[in-house]
Symmetry: D2
Subunit: 343 residues, 4 copies
């Protein structure tokens, strides 16, 4: 194996990124080395590329970003038993400490000392990526290979949607990025009776544009004046969040994943307390309950998420991908570090 | 309105039933009188017809049986406000006392003093039936009229299936009567990833015959040696129940609705305790959470239950229907007390 | 029985209240007439007395306020079966419609059309009060009679505290009015391992004053840097609410009952979403699960709530009571409409 | 350190045990070596000593039994970071594989490949015991040292009792061995309103002897004819289990830990299905939620379990201890491998 590889690199504390040669990662006794087949791009990667306030506070260059991928195992450390060379895999990129209160009580997804591969250490926008065995997820052969690189954001959607009852419920999905679109697919597959999409695209039963439509009146009319049972908030926009709470029924569930950029005003009295609402902060994916759920739904052919994948390009075109994300023309972009022709 | 009506009557403590004229029920201030459009036949009605041990201990003739129906409201008592003449309705036939511990804590479906219309008082195998306002369920216009008379057993299935997580779960439905078949439809609509049917018919992913197939080996092979996440037990057969526990995974859910006819032997150590299983006794339908769930699923077009309805006949052919049930040729039979041509 | 009775009356849309003769309520067929032994004063009564913005928008004078009481039944309507003359009772004063989605699915405490006796119709600051049979709660003879008039606010505390796991949990109670003090008693009785009181009084393990203490540092030090498992928010103060979220551990529960007077700023990203917190809006008391829980805890002698009761006075001293509440000298005041000597 | 140590040994496939010199365990890079201060005796140890059917099928001599203990760390492997020499510790003796479905979804306590130290490999009836770092539990200094060796069975009790709601509930504990007695302590500490003990001893509110008392009538009388909310079954005796189900209320919870020695007859229809009961198979302790709960309750001084500890003796008196267990004279026996005087 060569000692260097091509990778996207944030070289210094400034906007932009390079595509250049970097050393192939050295694996330890509990690690797995994966040759990346596809890596997909998340909004987080755009934050790092743009070097916004959050990125400045969190990321320490030089860094190879990228935390959504699939590929084949090319080497394993000497203690590794559950994975072997040739396995087709993805991975949970939140590496939990395993020793804090949350990790020891089934909540590793909110580990006190979590490190994210691709944010806190070198990630998957490269020909090879190093992953601890514990975090490897083997891809079921029954799953469309195209979907194998987007399990991380699909997992966000599965975790959010299934964080409470969804069967026979009316649901509003707020925000139309890839995770919101995945939520719609998951909600429908799991028996949601009506899905309202507050944004655009895909195949919700009702698509409402908060700018031009009177969302509150339309949702109330469609739900017999009761409001929706569940809101799945993916936008992080204060106005959308407030609107979400308005259309939530008495006793409904609000699952929040989208991140507002700063503190925001909320009417706790009317929108949560008198309403008897349940509000859930949602972070990452359950380790590894969500992965099993995803696997089961994909394998059963219950999720059609193909429309979310809008772009496929060689990893060397990374900057072009960033431009298409910024402009809103792309939704989910797949990058091919080892050549798009190998797909 | 005429003072008498045609009805199926169990006239005395003996097998059989008559179809003859009976007085039209008198309604009180909180009651609703419904002209029955369709009444469907339950296994319980066969028990009453056959006058088996259970029937002898519970039923006090003369009685008009029948607890699955739909029809139009023709009169309401003076205190009734939520229902009016002309409404197309069905009803929850378990009449709860409203005053016991269970009723006052959200568990009216296991009321200490429950009375069942069609078992403890005159039911729906008649041109007219009297129902308390509190128990009336208005049929959403979006629901196929054919389904409106089977909401009672469909509710059993919805209650059982949704009594725990079902999305992305593997499920074995045991017993192939109408409720078992409904369970399969509900599980699939609500995201179950694989449905095993231990019996016959319909559209589960795997149909296994406990007599001729090695069910244990096949289920284990199909679930990667883990077993199923959920068993929905509708048969009441001791062998089937024991088999169900064998194929249940460690930590799985067993929801039991089928009624064994007498005490039976169970391996509590291996099948429940070491297994860390959750076993739920299931009775009736949640009042009225289950009804709202059913309504939502049916209205959304998520349940195709048409294949379960095998027979349609005039109520005067009641004894013929009993024969077809006994022989196993019929699954769900719809009776038309006011003339089949009026459907 | 006399046709008139002494009562506290808000005569018109202005601050203040009179104590004067009013007609004894006429009961209907489903009602119960209670001779009030003790009525206790809630913060809501002070809002009505002061005629603040909320009171102006909700209350329609003339009104007899008062929604916390106990007394003996002196007459029952002809349909009443569960209560009889002479019974010692209190009541749930939220009268639910019984017909909306929430009422029919076990959530009557957030009924869409709830009316509150003592706010929307004449209440218990009077010699007699009229209550629907469905809302009457019979007092177990094993319960200290002194506690029988404070079951409404104690129920708020029981509902809030038991809205999630509490045994073996660390808990911060925010706000030191009667309900907060009740929460401390309930949490300790139900196995909370440490109770932090953010305010004053009573018997929490740690009493912290947000003004003078560094609450965040002290709570973190006392919880090994993890934060508390549960916050029970009774204050409605924006600063206290924000502080509560800061000291909540990753994955913790925030149960909010205190009502902020207007929309407030909240850091959803750090305090709820990344934290994976569960936030519950709490309203009223579960009908009637909470009442059974209260009854069981009181009867078992597990709650010492006597210190919360600071004042006892004849109902004719109502204005004096209002003054003591305003000054903060009183916590829970018991009024005696039929003479304090009769206690 | 000496190369040998004194230990209780089951030398061959036959009844009895020796106390003799054995090699001190060699630790690997992820292990911890503990000098045992106290080891307590479980009923399982008596099964192994007696060499009954279960022992014959599971245990492979030679074996050092013992799975309840506390002691000080004397050496750690090179990868160990969370524990250091001198720490006072106990341990979860169920060693989960970490890689099966149950382990990866928060249910390691029912791991498919669990191994128990003291049953499947050498245990704690010895001067030294080897434990993987992941399974070590550090003892909080606020916990009575006497209790540190009984955390394993206390954990069974905490897991069983807190497997559902317990605050304000009526509870019947069936079986009076140490775990049953611990359950009583835990239930009372966590707000159970009444505890019925079906056996003997300790401090339940009601102690009933199934042989001489009419338990059913007494429990029904004491619960207003409703039955108990919860049964905690620790006996494994078929008659006791059946009695437990009889006294369980409609909709109640039955948590089963006691192991019947063979399949038994149960009335599923009346005792589970019509009753709408929830039955939970309970196994081990949650890893490590239960340990945190135990720690919190003990540290807060909420559990008085001292009466359960009846005997203290040098480890060399092991056979004498077995005799006292067999005769029923002893409940929980503490053994001192390194000398009773060092306590």
């Amino acid at each position: 194996m060569s000692e260097t590889m091509l990778a996207v690199v944030k070289p210094e504390a400034a906007p932009g990124a390079d595509v250049r040669q970097m050393p192939v990662p050295q694996i330890g006794p509990d690690d797995v080395l994966v040759k990346v087949k596809v890596a997909s791009v998340c909004g987080t990667d755009l934050h790092i590329y743009n070097w916004d306030q959050w990125a400045q506070s969190r990321v320490k260059p030089p860094l190879i970003p990228g935390h959504e991928f699939c590929g084949h195992v090319v080497a394993v450390g000497k203690n590794v038993t559950a994975v072997k060379e040739g396995d087709f895999v993805s991975a949970e990129m939140h590496v939990a400490c395993g020793k804090c209160y949350q990790c020891r009580t089934g909540e590793a997804h909110i580990c006190q000392h979590v490190k994210i591969i691709g944010v806190d250490s070198n990630g998957a926008f490269a020909e090879f990526v190093k992953i601890p065995e514990s975090n490897i997820w083997k891809i079921d052969p029954g799953i469309p290979p195209d979907y194998a690189s987007v399990l991380d954001p699909l997992g966000n959607a599965v975790h959010t949607t299934l964080a409470g009852e969804i069967a026979a419920k009316t649901v509003a999905v707020i925000g139309c990025g890839p995770i919101g679109l995945f939520c719609i697919a998951v909600a429908r597959a799991c028996g949601a009776s009506e899905v309202f999409e507050l944004a655009a695209q895909m195949k919700a039963d009702h698509v409402l544009n908060p700018v031009t439509d009177n969302v509150y009146e339309q949702v109330m009319a469609a739900t017999g004046g009761i409001g929706v049972d569940v809101i799945l908030e993916m936008s992080g926009h204060p106005d959308a969040i407030r609107l979400g709470f308005k259309i939530l029924r008495l006793g409904g569930r609000a699952s929040l994943l989208g991140i507002p950029s700063k503190p925001m005003e909320l009417n706790l009295a009317d929108d949560i307390i008198f309403k008897g609402a349940i509000v859930q902060g949602i972070n990452g994916r359950l380790m590894y309950q969500t992965w099993y759920q995803m696997n089961a739904l994909l394998k059963a052919g219950k999720l059609d998420i193909a429309p979310v994948i809008t772009d496929r390009m060689a990893m060397t075109d990374f900057s072009k991908g960033m431009d298409r994300l910024k402009s809103g023309e792309a939704s989910k972009i797949l990058l091919y570090p080892n050549g798009i022709e190998k797909n």
